[in-house]
Subunit: 344 residues, 2 copies
DNA sequence: TTGTACGCGTTATCAG
DNA sequence: CTGATAACGCGTACAA
């Protein structure tokens, strides 16, 4: 047997790169047959298949998904953008999302955007350059150019964790404004006439707080004292928040609406350290119903959002888009629920 | 002007895909010049550059990184595998890692492996198919085939969060065994003669615990009561752990070594709920020195590991590899430190 | 069941 | 400073 055509020059680096052609040569078939063996084993003769599999094993061949994506125009990649991966809220959603989506052979390219839409825009562009088959975004505020790029990409785009009438494409979230309002109604119904807030984090937290404050004003004349922190929530800031409320604003009794359970827990700890009864003197409402919320003392009254459900729902609508059949609803409102425990 | 060559047939989908060729046509240059304008603007005439930039803006062109990677044999992609992204320990490391690595133009493809090395093996293969320029792994236990594939890939590989004499390539971690031992010495030195443990999570947690138990036996004859949970740590399990220790094992006084701060916090809460003084009757040692550890009551005595430092160090060694100059140390021991607070 | 030819959108190399 | 031209490794026709 003589070599067909010219010798393919070996790769730049060392011994190297194993390709389907290499595997094919070893198995006595062409590159295409190897490709077929991998994508649909039933389309190649059993005996051939065995030889190909053996060749793959001895060479340690790993397919090049880059080349595959380029040729097929499908990357099997989904990119996801979240403000922060260390924030359990986003991490939990992403976890559920990727578990569901991975079952269908997709991988997740994940990046943190921080809080600046301009940074997000840059990231959207780099992510788009990987030619993802779909994109998952957090929130509904994006720059105009970001929207244009997304639209132009012609792929399913899901905006998660917030809700809007006019999503770029798809949207899975809940109303932060409604959540703030309901918390205010709950607090008023529970009989609290004074209220304060401790907030940190992103713009959505601010929106919940604003809604709480506005709604609480309907129930009580007392001004709502507000403590806001830049950056992310922490137990420490919860403690500082109550300290400021008590020392700086003369807040001695009432309910404190927090933008996260972590802050709420901090408020509880600080209250107890100061000898203030919870909920007797200081009542606390958190947000998120995180794992620990039910198990601290007293249990945290909080706003529950089913985070994994958001990730799963996002995966569903994307898969539905892929599927082509059943076009998914443009907007999915997963809602929230106030769960009353000991703290308020 | 007449059209050169044949009409390139338009893409399958709608109006479609903008390529460098499209941009070039609009700017009156060839595709190659567009490529150059993007990779090294100084190599094209200012006037040309302007026209190209204008064309890019009007077309909304986003480069295809897949094609670029295929041609250049560099994907600018780094894949990372962690047991869980919702675990703050891993999330914090990844965060620091990607911040550092992104400055150099790399993106992170992240996946969760869970706790099974076999699952990890599968994931390593799919990740490798994306032809990453480097790979970040958690821990030092991998299947033989995984090691082979990694070696065969010929890229920098970092094993993070644990330490070994014989890394696949590079290793950035600390000794979990040493950590367990030092905790035992610390506990003994503090005068505790009875000890218990509450553990959850991965194999590394088990190793710390085993080391603690073995070492504590040098100091005291009292058997160490051990409560182990499957799955991940939570506040609730911390509470259950102490409950089991007290009710089930007759543990009424001594120090409890926990595999995470979250568990430790749970133990503290349960102790106080039972009217047991902390650290008077029940002393607690955590692990991780997480944000909240210093701010709960009493402050948690714990083993501090500088998680962001692991991520950064991992980034550094990879970048050093890329750089080619300064070959990085194969193993970096970042150590740990016991920080004594109120709980023990 | 298997193979040939071609294109996917870039980068690398060599000319001009 | 700019342009041809050939890879890069694989999928998709179409043919045998």
């Amino acid at each position: 047997m003589n070599e067909p055509e010219t010798q393919p020059k070996e790769s730049h680096r060392g011994g190297g790169t194993v390709t389907m052609a290499t595997v094919g040569r070893l198995a006595g078939v062409s590159q295409v047959t190897v490709s077929r063996a991998l994508s649909d084993p039933t389309r190649v003769a059993p005996a051939t298949l065995d030889r190909i599999r053996a060749a793959i094993a001895t060479t340690g061949f790993v397919p090049n998904a880059l080349a595959g994506a380029l040729a097929s125009r499908r990357s099997r990649l989904i990119t996801a953008l979240v403000p922060s991966i260390t924030n359990i809220v986003y991490a939990a959603m992403i976890k559920a999302f990727s578990e569901r989506i991975r079952e269908h052979g997709y991988q997740i390219l994940l990046s943190e955007t921080g809080l600046d839409p301009a940074d997000e825009e840059t990231l959207i562009e780099t992510h788009l350059s990987r030619r993802p088959d779909a994109m998952l975004l957090t929130g509904i505020h994006h720059t105009a150019r970001a929207r244009r790029m997304l639209l132009g990409a012609g792929i399913p785009v899901v905006e998660m964790w917030d809700i809007t009438e006019s999503p770029i494409d798809l949207c899975v979230g809940f109303s932060h404004v409604e959540a703030g309002r309901e918390a205010a109604d709950f607090a008023a119904a529970a009989g609290y006439v004074r209220a304060g807030t401790v907030s940190a984090g992103d713009e959505r937290a601010a929106r919940r707080k604003a809604a709480f404050v506005a709604r609480f004003a309907r129930h009580s004349d007392a001004a709502v004292e507000q403590v806001d922190f830049e950056g992310s929530a922490s137990l420490e800031r919860g403690r500082q928040g109550l300290a400021e409320l008590v020392n700086g604003r003369g807040f001695s009794r009432g309910v404190v609406f927090c933008s996260s359970d972590l802050l709420a827990h901090g408020v509880v700890i600080e209250a107890r350290a100061r000898g203030l009864a919870v909920p007797g003197q200081i009542a606390v409402i958190g947000f998120g119903d995180q794992d620990f919320a039910a198990h601290v003392e007293p249990g945290l009254t909080t706003i529950r959002v089913d985070r994994p459900a958001f990730g799963r729902a996002a995966a569903e609508v994307i898969l539905a888009r892929f599927d082509g059949q059943s076009p998914p609803a443009a907007v999915t409102d997963l809602g929230f629920r106030i769960v009353a425990r000991g703290s308020a």
